[in-house]
């Protein structure tokens, strides 16, 4: 027995040990963000919406096989009634009805999900990689490289891109590859601008100086030392860019300059249906619209949750968004709020 109010040294040791078990363990910012994301109900709902759409896309051939309805081939004999009218939802075994060529709307919506998700994700990936690389180069090297790239980003951001896409589709003919390329081309600058601004501030920090003093080359400093510090804004922007790309794709297809028939896409389903049937057959356009809305809403909610998890100080959905006047330097947009500048609707 000891008279010490703190107990024996052995007891103190035990307490210390027990305390150590509960000590704060070092967690990387990314793990902290993931933990925050896991407790976010909105993030779960958003993820659910996206997963549902992904499953729909994945199982589109299965749906087609089970129902026995092709997404491409018109089937006026089985798909329309005796008067050549399309079936409404639930009629003749067509859960979501048929279009004016007798094709199953459900099967076509499922196949449309493939195009939308493919284009949305691939175009965003390309834009993110390109934008990050060029933004890093622009911000890191400065000088004439920066002057050139910064002007290029300004030009791309201010170009009327729907018009440009139409002209390009007229020149090269609409296709899946061109659609992805066009969307990526008009999206990279948004990310490049933010990455450039962030790089400008990061390259002045001590760790960059330290890396340089031990002989790291420019390439290593940019992509090994600076890049990990830009993961947060790039991740947020990337997620928020997906719905923009999906709407962009649907818009191009709606205008008839995207992937094009006979491939079913939500955009060309909407366009076909408005032209041929008018509004009596509401199921022609209501179901593709709902699918499109669920997808964009899912990605927007998820992007918002990701932003919230990575930087809890920023406000959700509403964030500062200012157009930087030409008189001010471009860098002013690189703050936390600048993130939103990037996301524009077509």
């Amino acid at each position: 027995m000891s008279l010490s109010p703190f107990g024996t040294s052995a007891e103190i040791g035990e307490i210390l040990e027990a305390g150590e078990a509960h000590a704060i363990e070092g967690r990387s910012p990314l793990r902290l963000a993931l933990a925050r994301l896991r407790t976010d109900r909105v993030a779960w709902i958003a993820a659910g919406m996206i997963v549902a759409m992904a499953l729909l896309a994945l199982f589109a051939p299965v749906i087609s096989a089970v129902t026995g309805h092709s997404p491409y081939n018109p089937d006026l004999i089985n798909g329309t009634n005796g008067f050549g009218q399309p079936y409404g939802p639930g009629q003749a075994g067509f859960l979501l009805g048929t279009d004016n060529l007798g094709r199953d709307v459900m099967v076509r919506v499922a196949y449309g999900a493939r195009i939308s998700l493919l284009v949305g994700v691939l175009a965003t990936l390309l834009a993110t990689i390109g934008g990050t690389a060029l933004g890093l180069v622009s911000g890191y090297f400065g000088g004439w490289v920066d002057a050139l790239l910064a002007r290029l980003m300004d030009a791309v951001l201010s170009f009327p891109y729907v018009l440009a896409a139409i002209v390009l589709a007229a020149v090269f003919g609409g296709s899946l590859g061109l659609t992805i390329a066009v969307i990526a081309f008009f999206s990279w600058a948004a990310i490049g601008r933010i990455v450039r601004g962030q790089t400008l501030s990061q390259k002045e920090k001590e760790y960059v100086e330290a890396a340089r003093s031990i002989g790291a080359g420019s390439f290593r400093i940019m992509f090994v030392d600076i890049l990990p510090n830009l993961v947060a804004p790039v991740l947020v922007l990337g997620t928020l860019l997906v719905p923009v790309a999906i709407v962009f794709e649907a818009t191009l297809d709606y205008l008839g300059v995207g992937v094009g028939p006979p491939t079913p896409t939500w955009g060309n389903m909407l366009a076909d249906d408005q032209g041929s049937a008018g509004f009596g057959a509401w199921w022609f356009w209501v179901f593709p619209s709902i699918a499109l809305l669920i997808t964009t809403l899912g990605f927007n909610l998820l992007g918002d949750s990701v932003r919230d998890a990575l930087d809890p100080r920023t406000e959700r959905i509403f964030a500062t968004r200012r157009k930087v006047p030409a008189v001010a330097d471009l860098d002013a947009s690189a703050g936390a709020g600048g993130l939103d500048n990037a996301v524009e609707r077509p």
């Binding site: 002209v167 649907a250 009596g280 499109l292 964009t296 959905i317 200012r322 006047p325 030409a326 008189v327």
Partner: protein
């Protein structure tokens, strides 16, 4: 100030020249043959050659380009291959539609976006704020053409099939001077289509901008000296918060003026947007050039005006 404007105008002219040249290059890259399209299916080779010569398409491309630039400097945009009218006259006719669209939609989205944003910013985290969030989220996620179709379906199709024909179908446009009431009636749905989605951006912008300003010291000072909340918000805070909105408004308005391709397509409005799409389809180079030039000119001009306005509203900004 004057030097700033002169410099920006020169920069703008260079931008326009680059864009016009780009269209030229893209057009000839597509290996077009508008003469063939115009001549029709049963035309003989000599007929096609005659049309080609009449359009000046038999000359080398660089001669056509220089000829185009020369005419452009005299304000002559050439004549449409298909419509056989001077492009400037056609543009004047089509741009009326876009001016009408921009004026109506601009007023609606500004009023709606600002009021939702102010309402949300005055009571953060209230029911109002949360509803505003939902409004913004839906606005950001809805493609223009879905909203347009939905409005047409509800207000034209359902109402008309129930015997209430207030709203016209797509494809109607009445010039303002002919019949102002008919003008507004024909354009109400297109206005709403453009405005509802854009208003979401403005709600978000004005809310965040106003919240930021409301946190400033001078707002606390204004409250401390006993001003009413109304006066603090509308006189002191809003004035500072309005600058980013003015900027955004200038650009958005110019974009609509240069042709709202999607809205015009849905509602069949004969504006610049719909006509550029059909001109691309029939390889009508002078018309494509004219519309792209006008659209770009609107944006360039709006940028200059916005920068000048910015300095006028916010004394901290110096034009250099």
């Amino acid at each position: 100030m004057t030097r700033f404007i002169i410099r920006r105008v020169i920069q703008g002219a260079v931008t326009l020249w680059v864009i016009v040249s780009l269209v030229f290059v893209l057009f000839f890259l597509s290996n077009p043959d508008p003469a063939r399209l115009l001549a029709g299916k049963s035309a003989t080779l000599s007929q096609v050659a005659t049309i080609r010569a009449a359009l000046g398409l038999n000359k080398p491309v660089w001669q056509q380009y220089l000829g185009f630039l020369g005419r452009l400097l005299h304000g002559n945009l050439g004549e449409s291959y298909k419509l056989h009218e001077p492009v400037t006259a056609l543009l004047g006719q089509w741009v009326q539609v876009d001016i009408s669209l921009a004026v109506g939609a601009g007023i609606i989205w500004l009023a709606m976006g600002l009021s939702v944003g102010i309402l949300a910013a005055r009571r953060p985290r209230s029911v109002w704020d949360r509803s505003a969030t939902v409004f913004v989220l839906i606005g950001l996620s809805t493609p223009t053409f879905i909203l347009g179709l939905l409005l047409l379906f509800v207000f034209f199709y359902i109402l008309t099939t129930h015997g209430i024909s207030i709203f016209p179908s797509a494809g109607n446009f009445t010039p303002f001077l002919t019949n102002p009431a008919g003008w507004a009636r024909d354009l109400l749905l297109p206005w709403l289509t453009l405005a509802l989605i854009t208003a979401a951006t403005y709600a978000r912008l004005s809310r965040s901008s106003l919240l930021e300003v409301l946190g400033e010291d001078y707002i606390r000072t204004a409250r401390a000296k006993g001003l009413s909340e109304r006066r603090v918000v509308y006189r002191h805070a809003l004035r500072a918060a309005i600058t980013p909105i003015v900027t955004q408004f200038g650009i958005d308005l110019a974009t609509v003026l240069g042709g709202a391709i999607i809205t015009e397509t849905i509602f069949g409005l004969p504006g610049l947007g719909q006509n550029v799409v059909s001109a691309i389809g029939r390889e009508d180079l002078p018309v494509i050039q004219g519309i792209v030039l006008v659209a770009a000119a609107f944006i360039v001009t709006a940028n200059i005006i916005v920068d000048v306005l910015y300095a006028a509203i916010d004394p901290r900004v110096r034009l250099s």
